[in-house]
Subunit: 337 residues, 2 copies
């Protein structure tokens, strides 16, 4: 199937749909034989606590430095599970494809899906394909849902941040947002960073193994960036937060591009970072656990939970003053994930 294009017949549920499924959707960790396809996947499960999440992906462009919509769709759902302290067990994959989409591009994206899912050790066990007529969608939209088993020591909740807790970031901020932005617009030859897009369960597991119930909140700061995530956590836990970011929490490439474009890296999306809010006595061990994993090599203490006005997040400026870190408003960057 090279050189062809997706047609409405591929979405009809008939013979062409079966061919598309056989070509693209077997061997994703679930069924390997078309005779084993069912309406739903069946999984044996021991007693325990399950996490369940979903996200749709509409990123444009579909390929960007460091990733593509397929890798993003797999990582995004794995990371939402990881942020609830859950080991991803299985995923679903649903595509809405515009008529005329090239089979070559679909193959490249599905190869990326397969590679990312295999690397993360998470099988894609069920799926769906719809085709809409030319002009009714912008190329390809992807949805993934995932189920995971909660780490026995996970006590994570967005309501759990307490005054005195430390705020830890697992690495540099804003790289995904800028990677997509610079891939979208030519921006006069500006070289932006690579997306940080990566599956975060191994990092979350290392953290939970090390400090377990001392992890009060865990999040991956995607749309709206670190600013949105910390505002959410401060609101949900009814606490304040005071940030004091080390300079190298923004990579040189992202810093330069942000200065040039007048963007605040704290509102840019990340796709391979965790924010952990941990009890003060566990902060050093949490940092050590994160830094022991390549995905968290640049983990840093970035602030503290305070008994301030609920929902208020401030950051110390280079001049030593405090500025408000507001919940982002307006469009920010559409279709960043």
């Amino acid at each position: 199937m090279t050189g062809g294009r997706i047609t409405l017949a591929h979405g009809s549920g008939g013979a062409m749909t079966h061919r598309l499924i056989a070509d693209q959707f077997l061997n994703l960790g679930g069924p390997t034989d078309a005779r084993d396809l069912e309406d739903a996947a069946v999984l044996a499960l021991a007693e325990g606590t399950l996490a369940f999440t979903t996200d749709s992906y509409v990123v444009t462009p579909r390929f960007f430095p460091g990733g593509d919509i397929g890798k993003l769709a797999v990582c995004g759902t794995i990371n939402d599970l990881a942020a609830m302290g859950a080991q991803p067990l299985a995923m679903s994959l649903a595509l809405v494809i515009e008529e005329g989409f090239t089979e070559d591009e679909l193959q490249r994206i599905m190869a990326s899906v397969r590679e990312t899912a295999q690397m993360a050790g998470v099988p894609i066990v069920t799926g769906d394909t719809k085709v809409v007529e030319r002009g009714a969608a912008d190329g390809l939209f992807v949805n993934t849902a995932g189920i995971g088993r909660r780490h026995p020591a996970a006590r994570i909740s967005a309501r759990n941040a307490r005054p005195g807790d430390r705020v830890i970031l697992s690495g540099t901020v804003g790289d995904h947002g800028l990677a997509v932005l610079t891939a979208r617009h030519e921006l006069g030859g500006l070289v932006g960073p690579k997306s940080d897009c990566a599956p975060l369960w191994p990092l979350a597991r290392d953290l939970l193994d090390a400090v377990g119930e001392h992890v009060h909140c865990l999040r991956d700061p995607t749309r709206g960036g670190v600013a949105a995530t910390l505002n959410e956590l401060a609101f949900q836990s009814q606490v304040g937060m005071r940030l004091s970011m080390p300079e190298d929490i923004v990579s040189a490439a992202t810093h330069g591009a942000c200065e040039l474009l007048g963007l605040d890296p704290l509102v840019l999306a990340n796709e391979g970072k965790l924010i952990a809010i941990v009890s003060p006595e566990a902060a050093d061990a949490a940092l050590a656990a994160l830094r022991g994993n390549p995905l968290g090599a640049k983990a840093a203490l970035v602030g503290e939970v305070v008994d301030g006005p609920p929902g208020r997040v401030t950051a110390r400026t280079p001049l030593g003053t405090e500025r408000m870190v507001d919940m982002p408003s307006g469009e920010i960057l559409p279709r960043i994930c």
Copy 2:
């Protein structure tokens, strides 16, 4: 929020996204307080066998006699679980919305989602919203995923049909397909049937309670209709099938419209029907169980599994001859679900 339109800011992850979620996505059976929103839902689960499925919905028009895209999205995923013999436990809901979509229409659709989920007793516990710019999607696409617990007596698999087994349909065929088709085109004032769109778990449960492991295959014949589903089962089980349909398995409204339009009701989508393939000794009890539920009042024996060429499905014609029931090919009806 009346009279407004969805903007890109609603998909930004910032303040407008939070307002949209608070207005539309709480009280779907999952979180009722914005402070309880997390990256993934958490569910306690006893040991057992889990089913997991997903579908995207791109139906046009979004409102049709008997349903709308919201009701369809809830029923479709419930029915995929039911067809694996699994009681739906929880669902996810993900929207891709075109900029400019009216808040009024979104409210109507979400009311339908809420009503259908409540009626079916299945909470929507996690979700996602993306907004794409005007022209990048056709109004609204919906994805649902669902997890369910398998009925202890369920031994269902598409590979399990055996020669001698009886083929049972839970009611009339083709109504959903024609309802959408007649809603889409004016068709000279033709009055088509209502969609049969309904959540089928109670019907599947009654069947499994009654005849349990005698149910060899169970499917809901959606895209590609009864023809596609029986061809799939015949291929997957490597058997033949010989159908002998009672006349009233096609409703009068659907029959009339199909004659006029030259359509075969067997290739039209259903959204509230089950096909059960059961061992011959259990056929009467299976029919009685289905007919005892309002959703299966018109259940009928429609054929038999035979030791014929694997994958070959035939039907007796009114003239007493046999015709091939092929896997549908070509476009059939795009965007029927």
